[in-house]
């Protein structure tokens, strides 16, 4: 049984603002029947078309999806469109006293519906649904390359959620967006996106100036502490051969040697080293 806060329970059992607004100024729709949750959000603006005077919702989904929708409508009433756009999925989760990690995607769905409604009202174009997806696009307004085919999630959308929420693992991305939660085939791609976003975040920050000696020490530390124990748990191992400038040369041992997916493992090692040491590092298998 999920550990829902009393506020989540209250908003699930007594949802506020259920229904539709026939003359709504803005409508945002995300999710689908197939995906297991969907939200249609209606916003009514004041005469100056600035402030949200009324908000209503219709939601198909679990208790936390209904509670997130209810919370969202309460939060945006009285706000200007720009103020409403500043509402993040964390704000929705906080309003509810927190959501179980696995249910964070419900708060993301609320925030997206809000954004879609306002973007559309402001005349931004809505792209076609992606035909590749099995059952409709979860967030049709985030164009990009489809990453998760099971839930219809694009790289553009994933990068936004990763950055907004400071996510660092693929499990977190699944909890927040559902991407990777079904067949799991896109998890490597999600990891790449995390690395990409983290890399950008690091570049934005001051680039660390590492002496060669310090770099070598850190690389060795990360290999010993974070990587080799994991490989050993699966019967594999690796050996650090050399560090030449930014090039880290490794050789796979035991089960990793000759393993068909050692290429992925090398990528993983590179991602970890970039994340924990410095993002200019390149890993070479020798």
């Amino acid at each position: 049984m999920w550990d829902y806060t009393p506020i989540v329970k209250d908003h699930f059992l007594n949802p506020r603002n259920v229904g539709d607004i026939p003359d709504a100024d803005a409508v945002g729709e995300v999710g689908s029947l197939a995906c297991g949750d969907a939200l249609k959000l209606y916003l009514k603006l004041d005469d100056n078309k600035e402030k949200i005077v009324d908000a209503k919702f219709q939601t198909f989904g679990c208790a936390s999806a209904i509670a997130s929708s209810s919370a969202l409508t309460e939060m945006v009433k009285g706000k200007t469109l720009d103020e409403a756009l500043a509402v993040s999925n964390q704000d929705i989760a906080e309003f509810l006293g927190g959501l179980p990690e696995e249910k964070m995607h419900c708060s993301v769905m609320g925030q997206e519906a809000l954004e879609v409604a306002i973007f559309k009202y402001r005349g931004l174009e809505v792209p076609d649904h992606d035909a590749e997806h099995d059952h409709g696009h979860a967030y049709p307004d985030y164009e990009g390359t489809l990453v998760c085919k099971c839930f219809g999630i694009t790289d553009t959308f994933l990068k936004k959620v990763i950055a907004d929420n400071g996510l660092t693992t693929s499990e977190q991305v699944t909890n927040f967006t559902k991407a990777g939660g079904a067949c799991g085939s896109c998890i490597p791609k999600i990891k790449e996106l995390i690395a990409e976003v983290l890399g950008q975040a690091k570049e934005a920050a001051a680039k660390p100036k590492l002496s060669n000696l310090k770099k070598m020490q850190l690389v060795q530390e990360v290999l010993e502490r974070d990587i080799r124990p994991m490989l050993r748990a699966d019967g594999g191992d690796l050996e650090l051969i050399d560090i030449d400038g930014d090039h880290v040369q490794i050789a796979f041992r035991k089960a990793c040697a000759g393993c068909a997916s050692s290429g992925n493992t090398a990528k993983f090692v590179e991602m970890k080293l970039r994340e924990l040491v410095y993002d200019g590092l390149r890993v070479q298998e020798v």
Partner: protein
């Protein structure tokens, strides 16, 4: 709040008589059944009686019963044993709708070089026997099909499947955790080699199970160490729970007719009334032969977790095949294997009855559920669209 417990395929209440039977074996008669002294010996005579009672329910002989800790252990033991005694055969056959106790193990074995075929089911959850007949060959070591499905209650033709396995020199195991105690089983007239059962599904406590192994079937234990269970399952016997399981099996035999008449009638009544009161609802596995106590109903355009929590507010316990109730994000593998559309799978609710279920409890569900479904559909963007 009064609890209305309709989740008996998840676990059952320990029968008061079962509890009474096991009680003395904690603080008073706590001897080790393997001891030479009389104090331990009297425990052994009770576990011997329990073994006979379990065997009687299955139409088996007592030395064909091995006590284990749970259904999962029995399943694991059976499959591992078969692979060890038939080392030249590298193929496993199971079904796509098995319990994870079987399915996860089979899938893990592919990493060890075994070939695994998962036989599909039709829209009503019935096993594809043609696919099975095509898949089996002289490389098949073990076939493992569940006797009855935990989510839908659909019964598989395990006797027929066992005969086919035998003709191909393969061993046949059945996970009968949901079937034992609910439908008659007679291993004396069967070709099934191994059968798993679990105590807590038939009013015994959690933490006790059994594996039936037909006399003459080659066997390798999973747990080694002591000589308990004739060295087929080492480890000091959970004597109190074994005694409880014996009593529970004896009672299950006595209630077998009631299970298939009164309990079945209550389940049918619940199904009929809910379908009559709620539009856009359908039975998962409706066309198939099913257990007398189980019904899985799909309510379109609503999500299962929300239904369960609203039922729970009224003290009504059921379960769901929906994604949101588990850690995963997709609906149950059973419903997906059956090709149940996503629109239905997310809103599927399972009610599983027991001999303790009363008419008043069934009536309470019939009274409350239509309003819950209507309320959620009213809230759902699809409910309005499709139900106009």
């Amino acid at each position: 709040m009064q609890v209305i417990y309709l989740d008996n395929n998840a676990t059952t209440k320990v029968d008061e008589a079962v509890f009474e039977e096991m009680k003395p074996y904690f603080c008073e008669l706590y001897g080790n059944p393997s001891s030479m002294h009389y104090f331990g010996g009297q425990v052994q005579s009770k576990t011997t009686e329990a073994r006979k009672r379990v065997a009687d329910l299955l139409g088996a002989s007592p030395d064909e019963i091995i006590f284990t800790a749970c259904g999962t252990e029995s399943d694991n033991t059976a499959i591992r044993s078969a692979l060890e005694v038939l080392p030249d055969r590298r193929h496993i056959i199971t079904s796509r709708v098995e319990h994870p106790a079987v399915l996860t193990q089979c899938r893990n074995l592919t990493a060890k070089g075994y070939r695994v075929t998962e036989i599909g089911v039709d829209g009503a959850g019935r096993l594809d026997m043609d696919e099975y007949k095509k898949a089996i060959d002289d490389d098949t070591a073990i076939v493992s099909f569940m006797w009855a499905n935990n989510e839908t209650g659909v019964i598989f033709p395990v006797e027929e499947a066992a005969a086919i396995a035998k003709a191909n020199g393969a061993l046949f195991h059945t996970d009968a955790v949901q079937a034992v105690g609910k439908i008659p089983i007679n291993m004396a007239a069967s070709k099934i080699d191994m059968l798993s059962l679990s105590g807590h599904k038939l009013h015994a406590p959690k933490g006790i199970g059994a594996l039936y192994v037909r006399k003459g079937t080659p066997f390798r234990p999973l747990m080694v160490g002591g000589h308990q269970e004739k060295s087929r399952r080492a480890g000091t016997e959970n004597a109190a729970a074994i005694i409880a399981l014996g009593k529970a099996c004896q009672l299950a035999g006595q209630f077998m007719e009631a299970e298939n008449t009164t309990v079945k009638a209550k389940c049918n009544h619940l199904e009929k009334e809910l379908l009559a009161a709620i539009p856009h609802a359908r039975i998962n596995g409706g066309g198939a032969d099913r257990l007398p106590n189980t019904t899985s109903i799909a309510f379109e355009f609503v999500e299962g977790e929300a239904i369960l929590l609203l039922l729970s507010e009224l003290g009504i316990c059921a379960s769901s095949g929906s994604a949101c109730t588990s850690g995963s994000l997709e609906p149950s593998h059973v419903l997906r294997a059956m090709g149940v559309p996503f629109t239905c799978a997310h809103g599927s609710i399972r009610f599983s009855l027991s001999r303790y279920t009363t008419d008043a409890e069934i009536d309470a569900v019939i009274k409350e559920l239509p309003a819950i479904i209507a309320r959620l559909r009213q809230m759902s963007p699809f409910g309005r669209e499709f139900l106009k």
